[in-house]
Symmetry: D2
Subunit: 341 residues, 4 copies
């Protein structure tokens, strides 16, 4: 951390200020210029509060050089984190560390028939995880809110039928007890900074799929992962799902540039959600291929047997035949990237 003192601050003032900083466990270097003094903080600055420093009347500017995240930081964990769960047909469902995962399924669980048939279809084409929402965050209180616990039960039936591990969204802490048989817990974009929830998930022992918030910075996403990891749960999957933009030709802007940057800064697996990002089914294949090409470790896509009658997000859901075609196509790109699916 570098602190530029205001012009005119006296050496004695700066030294007193430095002594206070050193009580927080860092050492302070002085660079005294003709017009201003610059302090360089050496040591672990993770817990030092930039905003508090910035409020000090002696300080002109504070620049953080070290990243504020530790457990999510590749610097302290050079190797890729790879996740491995029991998968279909006695195999493994893997993500990260050279393994590309396809997570597929409907936006919402609607019926036994629907979820089981979609699960079979996506399994047959090579999906390794089944997604499906039982508890749905909806902008309107008057929209379908998901089947709730019944939806969870239906997901488990689909798992039983296909062997696919289940990914589903949790919306509040009290639901955790119902998620005992869920394989991967999803935190939605709107809850990315629900810190109480993140802390609780840090103690839950299950892999967490953490979606980037609508207007969250890369650092905020990694700090949200850090909340979970600080509680002892290192199995976090990061997910880019589009950020809010000024245009309307897609629902959000799919910010694929974050993928290589996250892979560089962090050891955690990074996946992409082209369905929510674009909001339109016909764009899913192109953006899925692009996700593979820029280094993602997986994709999460919405597949529905009857998008026109879907209770939610039908516009962005692809059909099982479209999904089959998508898989044929992206397998070639995954191979080019040297990854295994």
């Amino acid at each position: 951390m570098i602190i530029a003192m205001k012009p005119g601050v006296l050496r004695a003032e700066a030294e007193e200020f430095a002594r206070k900083l050193e009580k927080q466990g860092v050492t302070v270097d002085f660079s005294e210029g003709a017009t201003q003094t610059v302090l360089g903080l050496v040591g672990d600055t993770t817990a030092i509060d930039e905003e508090a420093l910035q409020a000090n009347h002696l300080v002109e500017r504070v620049i953080r050089v070290q990243e504020p995240y530790k457990r999510a930081n590749r610097m302290f964990h050079p190797n890729d984190t790879a996740l491995e769960l029991p998968g279909a047909d006695g195999g493994k469902a893997k993500i990260g560390g050279g393994n590309f995962a396809v997570i597929a399924g409907p936006c919402s669980v609607e019926s036994r028939e629907q979820i089981v048939s979609v699960a079979r279809a996506v399994k047959n084409e090579g999906a390794s995880f089944l997604r499906g929402g039982a508890f749905k965050p909806r902008t309107s209180p008057y929209s379908f809110q998901g089947l709730g616990d019944e939806g969870l039960s239906l997901l488990l039936e689909a798992k039983k039928e296909t062997g696919l591990p289940i990914v589903t969204e949790l919306m509040e802490i009290s639901q955790i007890e119902h998620f005992g048989n869920v394989d991967v817990i999803q935190v939605g974009a709107r809850n990315m900074q629900n810190f109480s929830l993140l802390k609780e998930l840090g103690r839950c022992g299950k892999p967490i799929l953490l979606k980037r918030g609508m207007a969250s910075t890369m650092t905020e996403l990694l700090m949200a992962a850090e909340y979970i990891m600080a509680g002892g749960n290192d199995r976090v999957i990061l997910c880019e799902r589009g950020v809010r933009g000024f245009d309307t030709f897609t629902r959000n802007i799919l910010d694929l540039g974050i993928v290589p940057v996250l892979k560089k800064k962090s050891h955690l697996p990074v996946i992409v959600d082209p369905s929510h990002a674009t909001g339109v089914a016909w764009m899913v294949p192109a953006m899925s291929k692009a996700a593979v090409a820029c280094g993602a470790d997986g994709i999460i896509v919405e597949v529905h047997n009857d998008p026109e009658h879907a209770l939610c997000d039908g516009e962005q859901s692809i059909t099982p035949p479209d999904f089959a075609a998508l898989m044929v196509s992206i397998r070639k790109y995954i191979a080019l990237e040297g990854k295994t699916i």
Copy 2:
């Protein structure tokens, strides 16, 4: 709601589609053009799902004409909602309906001495509510997270000393039982679409100060209010606190244009938070005056007796003397607007 059918859709197809829509309780008008048919839906379309319609292969575009919110909508509730709580010195603390409210206090409650002294200072200058955080949403898990229940107790002591009703943030459902003596419950920007929390607050019987999310649209803000109101709690205060932008000269962009639009679309009181929006103390007076001038019903400002040693957000906190000067200044603007403080 207007639905433009795709060019080439047959009259019979459109009629069958219309019959399905009419089962949802609306009537459908036909406008048959040379190239396409347009349907006009008449009746209550609040519960009709645009996205589901948009997924239909016959549909080119869906345009909502009616607003999707009802209880928050001024159309169905033409008069301003005004809130009134027991206030200092046996008086009332009012907001909305011609009453301008100043909510002031520190970002975090830090000690008995701090909160009581700030409470006295802001009361003396005319603040009608005391704000202070006991549970703090912080980007980093390593930052100060608030005093928790002890913070709530200290707030109540400050209330006892000054009579000021208390505004403080609730971060998760299980905290509600501790908020029994809190006067106004704040929902932070990061929780604006924590729908489980909103539903619960719809049942809690207390006024809710609902902050706009970092990148939330006006409609999303009103739909979040609608979640609370749909549960039976009509006492919602809307708060503009800055949205995420592309520049860094202020922390966020204070979007004052939303104030007159919210006042036109909704009957709910609208306040402005210049402290979080700008992130710098010296800008608070200018932006507070602007908030009054564009029609806000109140402001919420951070005041700290010792900003340099604040445990959080010191950079944006003004001192009690600055607050006194601010009050002198904005009283004149409030009078020009014909409002009472």
Copy 3:
């Protein structure tokens, strides 16, 4: 300017790097920490190219402490720049330095009758400048592009009738010769970084009203002003007119927070355009008052005698009676701010 060298860079390497920097006219301070060396550059760093430094393999991060603008910088020009032109009725039209200017008129000049009648109306209510577009930047090549030279002639007739100095937009260098009798040349948002044009305007000897680009940062706006000023023309008026945002309830987000920051960083007058920012006439009064309240030196508003038949931007134009009411209202706010109109 502060340069953090990468961890592991040798002292000798850093010194050689520093010697190269010193050839650019600065002196370099060393701060050698346990993990990295930090260089502090002292002297005029305006012409040092951050991007070039950032490309150097020894450099981790470059932080500019001094602002990159000089002539627009209040640090080197502490007093407000005030502009004074011959005005109506033998008086002066003033802007800045405690003078509040109202610039009013139609989006486009459409006819002699229109421009003269609007000019008279706005003059009678206290506008000090007449605006009107002769050359119009339109998104579509098929939309009305302005009357061109004929529009300029009509503006001059309106000036002759009323004495109001004229503000009108110039779209390309070759038009300058036609602008000999124009009083203030406007540079539109889309041309804010048309650097060839800015350089030319630096040589033209007329005041320039420089509108902020749709997604321009504060620094980019001041650097655009610097282009004009570097050519010898110090009479630049900065104009906030809304930036692009993610919502649609107003056309743009009026970023009033930039007003106090520009006033602090620069000595140039700052005005606000509520008409283009909001895009709707009914919001103009509220946002005009807010502009006054946060410290603007003026507003530029669209007034049209018959908005429904305006050839451009009718939706955001107010009528002469509305303008009269606006003036009554903002005069009180201008007085509160201690400014003269």
Copy 4:
């Protein structure tokens, strides 16, 4: 175009309004609902001004169904536009229609040696066009502004040496006469809505590489192309180069989602600039592959023989060896897409 009249508008009023619209060459369908009347306009609405309609006191909302662009619209020109220019070694340089083009070279032309050596290097690896800036748009008037006419001469020398057609940026109309031997004229992001320039380029008879503005919508980009095409020049190449976002981990957000949408809406070739979008050299390969994978017809990348001493944009320039590796990599992706390079 669909026009929803305000509730309460009388049939007679709506009919009179419709008669006026029909004078603009369209026919009007009526849909009379219980609460409001909706008009459907049939025919060519390209020249009808939405804003003017929106200002009418009878009108609640105007919805454009047809796109406002015609010449750029795939609906009226179903086949891909492909460009073909004389290329290196007596061959052709092609872009669009199944041909993938790589445009490579330094940000700025700096010296004969530099531009010729880079040109040779990129030609050897398969680039089909040479890029290089002679006139540079720079944020600061104190930064290097390009070599100007001398830069153009050096580019022509590099063309003579290698046969590569040249792509270079034009900043103002008066420069056109110097661009006689330039093969493709680039319009930079900051000039995307410099309408005077676009009109002039519509008459110049050369292919135009049109970069998307920093915060331009897809429609605005296509309307800018329409300005050029309306003048008779159909050879326009669209270029996505990143839009302004709220985060800083890349310079801009590379909005790859626009690529498939532009390909669907328009017949023009679409290329991607990963260098300016990300601002960092190490990300160029990943984002280039992603551009291929989502359907781009080419990329434009910055290559510099000595990025650390580049006079501009060194941080984002890759070296010739990096470029060679990039070409090896993307050829495989281009082949997968079924395109020719």
